[in-house]
């Protein structure tokens, strides 16, 4: 479990430290203050040997294309490619930190890896290209583990013309093995998990016969839910729910709130000993159920030993979380607010007493 982390030169952050962390962490703050960027930084750190995450965090933001001439500028503060992005984290693993440094580099030796190598992952479609070119730059993921051992993985933007008018962009990448790492699952606000991702995660839960745990959480939003099932219609699988109607109903049709909560619950259940990152967790949830949803999420994260980081804009969501944890047996929850101070962004952390006092006195915490 993460106890603290420090982010340097990433997106809008020059040097941001957040501590202490709890099992559940809500991140609040004004618009454009970097709430989502905190989740992204943690996700990169958790996947410290997966350079493709650098592309995917941009994809979640709607930046679908890689700029072949100046790739990944968006990762660095002030779009300055000379900076080295760094995420250093302390956790329960050891007294020593785990550090990810990300930077751009012109490859000294151009290595075209052999096809089929297990250490390579290519996100571009495998077709015989009419032509292809690499970016001048590689993105380097340099990871230092708690023993001081350094691992370098890299990603190399690749542009392929696969038909006269079709150009595909991808990332040729090399992943250095850094040891077994627990899962890190990111649920973006804009980019809802695809049906396939939820189905894969649901199937994994079905295999270990833990569906009732998921259903128990969903009942907090809709008590009618009795059972879930993957139903294939016209070749398309989708998670359906038995809500006491004559037929099963696709979960997205029941409502946004239950659909969102299903994704969160499936993510937690599939991230044992890892982290789940949820952008705008309150999306779609009716205010009247949020306290019970928080209680259910708290129990679920403890059951699977998952640490959860979520962003929110909502006063109701924060009040509900505080109330839920006060009424719970354990207050393993912190609120962290990002705030601009003297041209840098810093974090302010509320633990049980300060958050309770602020909410009682009407002092803004977001």
């Amino acid at each position: 479990m993460y106890k603290s982390f420090r982010i340097k030169n990433f997106r809008c952050f020059v040097d941001l430290k957040i501590e202490p962390l709890e099992r559940l962490n809500l991140i609040a703050g004004k618009n454009d203050i970097g709430k989502t960027a905190v989740l992204e930084a943690l996700w990169l750190h958790q996947g410290a040997n997966v350079p493709d995450l650098a592309r995917r965090v941009n994809t979640f933001r709607g930046l679908r294309e890689i700029n072949m001439d100046e790739p990944f500028l968006e990762l660095f503060t002030d779009f300055n490619p000379d900076l080295v992005m760094e995420v250093q984290a302390h956790g329960t693993w050891s007294e020593e930190p785990r550090t990810l440094r990300v930077y751009r580099q012109v490859p000294r030796v151009v290595e075209i890896p052999a096809s089929g190598s297990e250490s390579l992952e290519q996100t571009a479609v495998e077709k015989s290209p009419l032509s292809e070119r690499h970016s001048r730059y590689q993105i380097i993921f340099e990871y230092t583990n708690e023993d001081g051992k350094v691992f370098k993985s890299w990603g190399w933007p690749l542009e392929r013309q696969v038909a006269p008018s079709v150009v595909e962009l991808g990332l040729l990448s090399h992943q250095e093995f850094i040891g077994e790492r627990p899962a890190g699952i990111f649920l973006a606000a804009r980019h809802r998990p695809s049906g396939k991702e939820d189905i894969d995660r649901f199937s994994a839960i079905e295999l270990i016969q833990k569906q009732e745990d998921i259903v128990r959480i969903l009942k907090q939003v809709d008590p009618r839910v009795q059972r879930l099932a993957v139903v294939v219609i016209s070749g398309v699988p989708m998670i359906h729910a038995d809500i006491g109607a004559k037929r099963l109903v696709p979960v997205p049709l029941i409502g946004d709130g239950i659909s969102r909560l299903l994704s969160v619950a499936l993510a937690i259940a599939n991230a044992r000993d890892g982290i789940v990152l949820v952008d705008e967790i309150e999306n779609g949830l009716y205010y009247g159920v949020i306290v019970n949803v928080w209680k259910a999420i708290a129990a679920f994260t403890r059951q699977f030993n998952v640490q959860l980081f979520a962003t929110t804009h909502s006063e109701e969501c924060i009040r509900a979380a505080h109330q839920a944890f006060v009424e719970d047996s354990k207050y393993d929850f912190h609120l962290h607010r990002l705030e601009r101070m003297k041209n840098t962004i810093q974090a302010v952390t509320y633990e049980k007493e300060t958050l309770g006092a602020a909410l009682e006195a009407g002092l803004e915490v977001r």
């Binding site: 205010y287 009247g288 159920v289 949020i290 306290v291 006063e315 109701e316 009040r319 509900a320 109330q323 607010r337 705030e339 101070m341 302010v348 509320y350 007493e353 300060t354 958050l355 309770g356 006092a357 602020a358 909410l359 009682e360 006195a361 009407g362 002092l363 803004e364 915490v365 977001r366």
Partner: protein
């Protein structure tokens, strides 16, 4: 969630001068007095409730907007010991890294990095007491006060004891003599029932002027 009707909406700090008070009565009274004096650049925040003053002060200083505060006032009842209350406030200020005054009504030095701090323990100069005592002092000459005294003499005679908080009881008895008989101390201030020109309020006015 179960939305409690007494939830106070969350608001950031917007003024550069802030006064931290203990409850709604203090908030309403000081608001009425500063309006009377034509002061409009002071924000008064009520930090009443179940948490310790130290915790509430910590919450206040991390509230959005506090970074722009240049002057912080703290007003508290002396209760049973003015010196103990002052020391308790000083400890809380020290705990959150704010400047600590040497005595009540003595502002700390101006510092570019931190707000100036002024503390008032009411009644100023007394070893014990509360805001109610100032208000009662201000209406000491009011004809209704002789009735209030007679009332409590009667209560003592017939019941054999007086209310444990006699100052609060006397304020209630006095206010029940007004046109609007059901107001609380702070609401009575808003209604103009306390004579601001009385010397009883001199130190409170001084406190406001020092911010």
């Amino acid at each position: 969630m179960s939305t409690e009707s007494n939830e106070v909406p969350l608001t950031p700090i917007t003024a550069t001068k802030v006064i931290a008070v203990e409850g709604k009565d203090e908030l309403n009274l000081l608001s009425a007095l500063k309006d009377q004096l034509g002061i409009d650049n002071i924000e008064i925040r009520s930090l009443g409730g179940k948490y310790s003053f130290s915790t509430k002060l910590k919450s206040l200083v991390i509230t959005p907007g506090f970074i722009s505060v240049r002057s912080l006032g703290v007003i508290r009842d002396a209760n049973s010991s003015a010196s103990a209350t002052f020391q308790s406030i000083c400890a809380a200020l020290r705990n959150v890294g704010l400047p600590v005054p040497t005595k009540p009504l003595s502002p700390t030095k101006v510092d570019e990095e931190k707000p100036q701090v002024v503390v008032l323990i009411v009644p100023h100069g007394a070893s014990k007491g509360m805001l109610e005592d100032i208000c009662l002092q201000s209406v000491g000459e009011d004809p209704a006060m002789s009735c209030v005294e007679a009332y409590f003499e009667c209560i003592k005679r017939n019941l054999g004891k007086l209310p444990s908080n006699l100052s609060k009881a006397r304020v209630h008895a006095f206010l029940s003599s007004r046109d609007q008989p059901d107001l609380r101390l702070g609401e009575a201030a808003q209604a103009g029932y306390w004579p601001w020109t009385h010397q009883a309020f001199t130190q409170v006015k001084q406190f406001l002027s020092l911010l």
